[in-house]
């Protein structure tokens, strides 16, 4: 291996690391606020890519019916719970949030599909269409069991993943898709060929993690999210509704996933079940961050990307083995450093 190969590999690794970073941050965000390890998170990214591809081919994406069904389900569950709480005055508000808001992009896409749309419009529509899926799933599946153990939540999330993959096959079919590149530009930096697409991925991931940082640091909503993450009961005591912060966490995380879906779609072929492996690698990054620290997660995600890239050069058949086996030392180190904090958990 010479320096040129190492540089190309490093660039490739950073590009995939940037994708894992976006998804890994989403994992941590959702887990911190709701204690759910949202396994189908990678699927959200894949669904965005597939939706975008369907729009590009002038087809009506199957995600429309998924969103519609979820919205109706969420609305009926919300309606019943409002009725039981004798709080029907809040019904119009619920109608707006659970039915109108998600169905708006779905309706738009329904009418727009087939027409020749420009690239930004297609991307905007796909993002808007996929965005409500995770919050709606949260309302339908996770909110009724919000106080269950982490293990139960994880089990449900795994089941949900399989359900979504099955639906993905139904909606998008078994064939893979690849969308048109966002940009064809190629830069030559000191004899090194760099794709603008790669730069775009890295830039997007930097911008969005920066925005996330600003959001948590300087807005009331961000602080409310952090408060819920630190202590749900405490947050409730000071007037923060965990349910609402949960929805916002899902929305924000979904935004990260949809962005990464849009970015990854032109680089590789995405299948209905591609999301899982991408999500799993991002999850490794999140575990390196202890499912709590955003900077460590970012570092971990980039590390996974680099490791993957170099492993594919040295021994491609064992690439996944290499990537996933770094979990073992990380978990060992985590569990050793956790001994000191274990006593706090017992108190809970």
């Amino acid at each position: 291996m010479d320096r040129e190969i190492a540089t190309i590999l490093a660039m490739d690794g950073i590009a995939s690391g940037a994708i894992y970073l976006l998804i890994g941050l989403g994992f941590v965000l959702i887990f911190a606020v709701t204690r759910v390890i949202f396994v189908p998170f990678g699927d959200i990214a894949a669904f965005t890519a597939l939706t975008l591809a369907s729009l590009e081919m002038g087809r009506r994406p199957g995600t429309i019916s998924l969103v519609a069904v979820l919205a109706v389900l969420a609305m009926s569950i919300e309606g019943v719970s409002l009725f039981r709480a004798r709080a029907l005055a809040r019904l119009p508000r619920a109608l707006f949030y659970y039915l109108v808001l998600p169905l708006l992009p779905a309706g738009l896409v329904w009418f727009a599909a087939g027409a020749a749309l420009s690239m930004p419009v297609r991307i905007g529509l796909s993002v808007a269409l996929v965005l409500p899926i995770a919050p709606l799933l949260d309302r339908v599946v996770f909110r009724p069991i919000a106080d269950a153990s982490v293990l139960l939540l994880l089990t449900v999330a795994v089941a949900l993943h399989f359900a979504l993959v099955g639906l993905g096959l139904l909606f998008f079919g078994p064939e893979g898709v690849r969308t048109q590149p966002l940009t064809d530009a190629v830069f030559d930096i000191g004899g090194l060929v760099v794709n603008a697409q790669t730069l775009l991925i890295v830039a997007a991931s930097l911008v969005f993690s920066g925005l996330l940082f600003l959001f948590f640091e300087f807005t009331l909503l961000g602080k409310a999210l952090r408060a819920t993450a630190v202590n749900r009961t405490g947050a409730r005591l000071v007037g923060i509704r965990p349910a609402a912060t949960g929805t916002i966490a899902y929305l924000l995380a979904s935004l990260l996933a949809t962005i990464s879906g849009v970015l990854i779609a032109p680089v590789t072929t995405i299948f209905y079940d591609s999301g899982f492996l991408i999500g799993l690698k991002a999850f490794v990054g999140a575990i390196i961050g202890g499912m709590a620290s955003y900077p460590l997660t970012a570092l971990g995600a980039v590390m996974v990307g680099l490791l993957e890239s170099f492993a594919s050069f040295w021994s491609s058949a064992f690439k996944e083995v290499v990537v996933f086996s770094i979990l073992i030392p990380v978990l060992l180190w985590r569990s050793l450093s956790l001994v000191s904090t274990q006593e706090d958990e017992v108190e809970e």
Partner: protein, 384 residues
Amino acid sequence: MKNILRIAATTAGMSLLAGPAHAEITVGFVTSLSGPGSSIGVLYDRGMKAALEYVGSVSGEKIRLIQLDDGSDPSAATRNARKLVEENKVDLLIGTATAPSSIAMVAVANELKVPMISISPITVPATESGERWGIAVPQPPSLMVKVVVDRMQRDGIKKIAYIGFSDAWGDLVYNGAQKPAEADGIKILTNERYARTDTSVTGQVLKMIATHPDAVLLGGSATQGALPPLALAERGYKGPLYGTPALLNADFVRVGGKAVEGVLVSAGPVIVAEQLPDTHFSKKISMAFRDAHQKANGAAPTDGFSAYSFDAWLIFMDAAKRALATAKPGTPEFHTALRDAIFSTKELVGTHAIYNFKPGESYGVDERGLVLVRLANGQWTYQP
């Protein structure tokens, strides 16, 4: 000998008396019309419709076809096979779209002693007593690769780089290339692998290019088979690309675009039927298949899979003709006779190959069953 003949005649007469007046041959056909295997399964279904359109009876006996969907699920394929044999009393099983499901079906065929024609490339296991009740129609993967490797030698290629899926298919292509490459004096420099869900093969491609290969052998399939050619083009590789029939796929061409232009793959001759010379064995039957497919499905075939079910039907027709001379349909004797007839198929001309089946072997195809085609301007063109 005379005695045996007499006994045979008497039994045949008795079964004639006992059985229904018009014994028809019943065939059970399983394919995947739903699930992940359905993209191929639907093609098999169309091929079977074309086959029925082409010829629907043998020696005056009508044939009843019972078709079931296995949903790309091996356990459903097992259930279907069992149901077809035990309830519908079929004389022959044909199936199915995926290899695991076909292996599941052939296990049932072995157990219940009913002949089976597999339309997926599988190696049929023997029963405990050493019997085999099934054959496979397609070209064996090792042959698909061998033809390509031999072509490389003709093209003057000395060393190749290999990249394929990190699954059974990638292994089949790599292992299949080993022996012919050694015989042809071609060195395989790399054994790079990638997963179907991978997003990048940059690392593998860099390593391949660093070994300076004369050509690259592709062990992927369909859409994601285009990932290495794309990465190779991106890194400035300009050498030739070789592949297997697994790349004969509209999505491979769509996704690969310019990067896969010129790729040379082996294929059943039916793929390029209209380009074949008139002297080619497959020309006449393939054109007949095209007509039948057009009539039965309202469209011309664009794939090689539908032709496998068509050939399976031809093999069955040929064997049934001979089996009918010795036994009555619906009886265990007929099953044995049909199996023996299938296993003594000699020089049967199909759309894909000239079939010769022997007991003890699953495949009955030789090198005549593969031609080389090159992708030129998005079209597969015959390379003599």
